[in-house]
Structure formats: structure tokens, C-alpha cells
């Protein structure tokens, strides 16, 4: 492609369209990480089902497979990142969603191991799980919008979630109040202040 060529208006529009198309067609995920997790979780779930259904034990926890899968995941992700020549706008948002998901899964595993089970169908210390959910969209919003107050709120709420696994429900609810204030109310006040200042300057 030469710089000197004079373009007609039509040629300019055609060039813009073709370049946008080139970007679209040049960027595909390898799918290896999705294949890894799809197969590992499917195998672990299936084997776990068979253990329950046919009352046998493998002698080790099949879900440890998931833990081991983290190693190839990290290696593959680093390799893919090295080879990537283009970064799209949605990449940051998707990274934030998957990070929040990873933390949530880790939190659920921690909850399962820390909170003692009780008889009946009710979920013990269920408010802990709500705290985990409160943090999820807050973390994603904080990362995508690069909004520090929400990031702090989310991190604090993850801390409250861990603490809530060790406390009785009445304190979990109290933690919920703190989480709501730090995740949304305080960031909301900051956003409101910025908005009003912006409106004042535009009047």
C-alpha cells in the first residue's frame, strides 16, 4: 500500500470498510482454554455423579482435577497473550467478568469448606452467598470503568464474605449493610457529586 495514491471519496469509503473487515476476520480466540475447562469440569461432574449413583469412591477427590487444570490454564493464557497482536475494547470487560467469576468460584469452594452444614434443606449462613454476589458486579464495574471506589468496595466485600463464613447470621446481615454502603452507596455519592459538578460547568 502506498501513501501517495490519491483517493476518490468512494475509494476512501471502500478502504475504510475493507480495513474494518480485515480486523474482524483476523481475530479469533484459540478456544483451548474453553476446551480445557469444558472437559475438566464435565469429567469431574460425571465421575462425581457415578460415585454417588453407584456408591463407590475413587480414593481421591475428583474435583482436584480442577485445581490441577489451573497450571495448563496459566501457561496457555500466558502463551496466547504473548502471541496476541491486537487488543479489543471488550477484552478488558471480559477479563474483568472472568476474574470476578474465578473469585466467586473460589469463594463458593471456601464457603462449602468453612460453613458447617445443617440438617434440612435450608442453606446455612446464606447471607454469605449474597455478599459474594454483591461483590461480583461491583468488581466488574470497578475494573471496566477503572473506578477505584467500586474496586475498594468489592475487595472489602470479599473480605466481609470470608469473615461471614465464620460468624453467625445476624452478623452476616450487618456485614451486608457495610457491603451495600461500600459497594454502592459511597461510590454513588461520589458519582452524584461528579455529575452535579459536571452539570454546573455545562450550564
Amino acid at each position: 500500500m502506498k501513501e501517495q495514491k490519491t483517493l476518490s471519496e468512494k475509494e476512501s469509503l471502500e478502504l475504510i470498510t475493507s480495513m474494518i473487515e480485515k480486523v474482524k476476520s483476523s481475530y479469533h480466540e484459540t478456544g483451548i482454554v474453553a476446551l480445557l475447562w469444558g472437559s475438566v469440569v464435565a469429567i469431574a461432574s460425571l465421575v462425581n455423579y457415578l460415585e454417588i449413583e453407584f456408591s463407590f469412591e475413587l480414593g481421591f477427590d475428583i474435583w482436584l482435577l480442577v485445581l490441577f487444570a489451573l497450571i495448563p490454564h496459566v501457561i496457555i493464557s500466558m502463551k496466547e497473550r504473548r502471541l496476541k497482536k491486537v487488543r479489543k475494547h471488550e477484552d478488558d470487560a471480559l477479563d474483568a467478568v472472568w476474574l470476578a467469576y474465578g473469585i466467586s468460584i473460589f469463594g463458593l469452594v471456601a464457603y462449602e469448606n468453612i460453613v458447617p452444614s445443617v440438617a434440612g434443606s435450608s442453606i446455612p449462613s446464606i447471607y454469605s452467598l449474597f455478599l459474594l454476589l454483591y461483590a461480583l458486579p461491583t468488581l466488574v464495574t470497578g475494573l471496566v470503568k477503572k473506578f477505584r471506589p467500586m474496586l475498594i468496595g468489592a475487595i472489602l466485600t470479599y473480605g466481609l464474605f470470608i469473615a461471614s463464613c465464620f460468624t453467625v447470621t445476624k452478623y452476616d446481615v450487618l456485614f451486608g449493610a457495610v457491603a451495600a454502603l461500600t459497594c454502592w452507596f459511597i461510590p454513588g455519592l461520589i458519582l452524584r457529586k461528579r455529575y452535579l459538578e459536571q452539570r454546573r460547568t455545562h450550564v
Partner: protein
């Protein structure tokens, strides 16, 4: 009265670079060269012109001990590109 087309953008290679960068966050110099089929020397000159105009940001860094050049469009570049496309549409409508 027609708006004059931005001379910085109304050049084949510079327009191609801006069109590549418009829909993405950032791209490596090698990616742009591959997609535009331009020579490294020519592309470097045009990238520099876009940078001087404030339309793109160029970051030079090292990745795995190799030099890496990252290009990304700036808000000024985005506004100029939008104005350029609008002006083009005006010309094309008038030509119909």
C-alpha cells in the same frame, strides 16, 4: 458548501491505519504492517505523521526482549475520523 477532507486522513495508508485502529483498543505495529501490506519504512513515516497530528498514540516497549510498538487511536483521532467519514458521506450524497 462541502467540508474539506482532512489532508492527514485523506491518504491511502494513513486512512488504512486509522480504519484498522478505529474498532480496537490497540494494535501492534507488525499487525498493521501485515494488514496494510505496507513496507516498514513507509508505515513508520505515516504512523509518525498521525502521531504528530495527535490522532494516534504510539507506545514503544519491550516484550520478551524484543522491541514492540503499540498504536492506539486518541480521542482527537476518533473525532477527526468521524468528521472525515461525515464529510465523505456529504460528498457522496451530493454526487448522486
Amino acid at each position: 458548501m462541502f467540508k474539506e477532507l482532512d489532508p492527514i486522513l485523506h491518504s491511502q495508508l494513513r486512512l488504512a491505519v486509522m480504519s484498522l485502529l478505529i474498532g480496537i483498543k490497540e494494535a501492534e505495529f507488525t499487525f498493521i504492517r501485515e494488514k496494510t501490506n505496507a513496507t516498514a519504512g513507509n508505515l513508520s513515516v505515516q504512523v509518525q505523521k498521525l502521531k504528530d497530528a495527535g490522532y494516534i498514540e504510539v507506545v514503544k516497549q519491550f516484550k520478551n526482549n524484543y522491541p514492540q510498538t503499540i498504536c492506539k487511536i486518541t480521542p482527537a483521532g476518533l473525532a477527526a475520523f468521524e468528521a472525515y467519514v461525515k464529510a465523505l458521506q456529504g460528498y457522496l450524497k451530493a454526487g448522486k
